[in-house]
């Protein structure tokens, strides 16, 4: 009974952390999308320099642990440059930059999976390469990327828990704070786990609906083939 009372009393405070967690994930995904698309385009269509730069970026952010990056950016780079970026936005930026590296590979795979004739047909109609990419390639590649992107969402959501090391007041930080004072670790972390599970479920359901809404008629959702 004691466990339930502790959980009941702490739940509004921990639920509040869900909003912070969702905020981190949404902003990081958006930053990852904004950087991931140009990175993918640079890797597929760019010249040698663009390909090298994009490759270096992906190599760095996939190769260095997120925990190291959080410390590197928050206590290192942002502090030494005197940038007034708080723990929440530092978490969003670091997770966003890392996610961009992973998202770029999802988009790159999707672009490469399109038949080369699509780009050729755009050119043959007099479209510039930029127009062919914008009007023909990206609308198809982004649709194909949605299943992989949903995967990236669930990974990012779980990675966001590590942001508690900067003092970001998300689910993990708040649960840890309450648990260290009440010593009800089992019940409280079960609640935290349940919250992550529910947010994942809601996000994936939403993305599945988006995938269905955007699927091309005549193809199964996810572009797996003609019906």
């Amino acid at each position: 009974m004691q466990h339930l009372i502790v959980v009941w009393n702490a739940s509004p405070y921990i639920f509040g952390g869900s909003c912070v967690t969702v905020g981190i994930v949404v902003l990081a995904l958006a930053l990852g999308l904004m950087l991931g698309v140009p990175l993918a385009l640079a890797q597929v269509y760019g010249g040698v320099l663009a390909r090298r730069c994009a490759g270096l970026y992906v190599w760095f952010f996939r190769g260095v642990p997120i925990l190291v990056q959080l410390f590197l950016f928050y206590f290192g780079l942002f502090s030494s440059l005197d940038l007034p970026i708080n723990a929440f936005f530092s978490s969003c930026i670091v997770l966003g930059l890392t996610s961009a590296a992973y998202q770029s590979q999802i988009f790159r795979g999707a672009i490469l999976s399109l038949p080369s004739g699509q780009f050729k047909a755009g050119r043959a109609l007099g479209m510039s390469d930029a127009c062919s990419v914008r009007c023909i390639i990206l609308p198809q590649a982004l649709r194909l990327s949605l299943p992989g992107w949903a995967n990236e969402f669930s990974i990012l959501l779980k990675d966001s828990a590590i942001c508690f090391v900067l003092g970001t007041q998300e689910i993990m930080a708040r649960t840890h704070f309450v648990a260290s004072r009440t010593h009800e670790h089992l019940a409280l972390f079960m609640l935290a786990g349940l919250l992550y599970f529910l947010i994942t479920l809601a996000g994936l359901t939403l993305l599945r609906r988006l995938e269905n809404a955007l699927s091309t008629p005549g193809y199964a959702a996810g572009g797996t083939g003609a019906q």
Partner: protein
């Protein structure tokens, strides 16, 4: 005085991986002519068609459209050239995420700058011309191969091309669907559309071509009217090749 050819190709040469794909190919097409390229697989027919609008960049050679030399290094000039030279691909290359109507309208909007409504109206008109007006809302995955190729033809026609290049437009189709595509091309030829077509449809070539060009090893080895090359007593490479085709 001889009229300026719509399309004039001089000494197109293409080398890929050390192998000569096209060797000093020359040809010209007058307004309203239908010229047919035939030859065995690997002869360079598709490469020639793709070199003409620089989808594959030739090593050397000159391409003139209505007497004006193409400056392929100038991107704007190249895009403008391509709007005047329609291209029909063997495997259709329709944009899978767009309906038939949008497939035809997209270049009108993005290249010609048509407003959306006007582009869709024009697209519907072109789809009507190939007998597909009632399929306008369907997507490529919902169309048969023959219908897809007719949409591709409508898409090329919508740009008001001065010449259309057709790269084996029926070779990816089931035999029963070939007729509907050839019927559309036949109508275009009768309406005076200038076309250069790679095909193995010899009956079609015999009936409609102004000239047959026989390609082998990247060179046009024979050229002449269908009567000259295909008459029963002709001793030509073209006739020899046609005799081996399974009809």
């Amino acid at each position: 005085m001889m009229e300026t050819p719509v399309l004039c190709i001089e000494n197109i040469t293409l080398t890929l991986g050390g192998r000569k794909i096209l060797d000093q190919v020359c040809l010209d097409i007058q307004r309203g002519e239908l010229k047919v390229l035939i030859g065995p697989s690997g002869a360079g027919k598709s490469s020639l068609l793709q070199c003409i609008n620089h989808l594959v960049r030739p090593d050397s050679g000159i391409i003139r459209l209505e007497g004006e030399k193409l400056d392929a290094a100038n991107t704007r000039a190249l895009c403008s050239f391509r709007t005047h030279v329609g291209m029909i691909f063997q495997d259709f290359n329709l944009f899978d995420h767009l309906s038939a109507e949008e497939n035809v309208a997209i270049a009108l909007r993005k290249v010609r700058g048509f407003p959306r409504r006007a582009a869709l109206d024009r697209a519907l008109e072109e789809l009507g011309r190939v007998g597909l007006a009632r399929y306008a809302a369907l997507y490529p995955a919902q169309l048969s191969g023959g219908q897809k190729q007719r949409v591709a033809i409508a898409r090329a026609l919508a740009m008001d091309p001065k010449v259309i290049l057709l790269d084996e437009p029926t070779s990816a189709l089931d035999p029963e669907l070939v007729g509907e595509v050839l019927a559309v091309i036949r109508e275009l030829a009768k309406a005076g559309m200038t076309m250069l077509m790679a095909t193995h449809q010899m009956d079609f070539a015999r009936a409609l071509a102004n000239e047959i060009l026989f390609m082998e090893h990247g060179v046009i080895v024979e050229r002449g009217t269908p009567e000259e090359l295909l008459r029963p007593d002709a001793v030509t490479r073209t006739r020899d090749f046609c005799a081996k085709l399974v009809v």
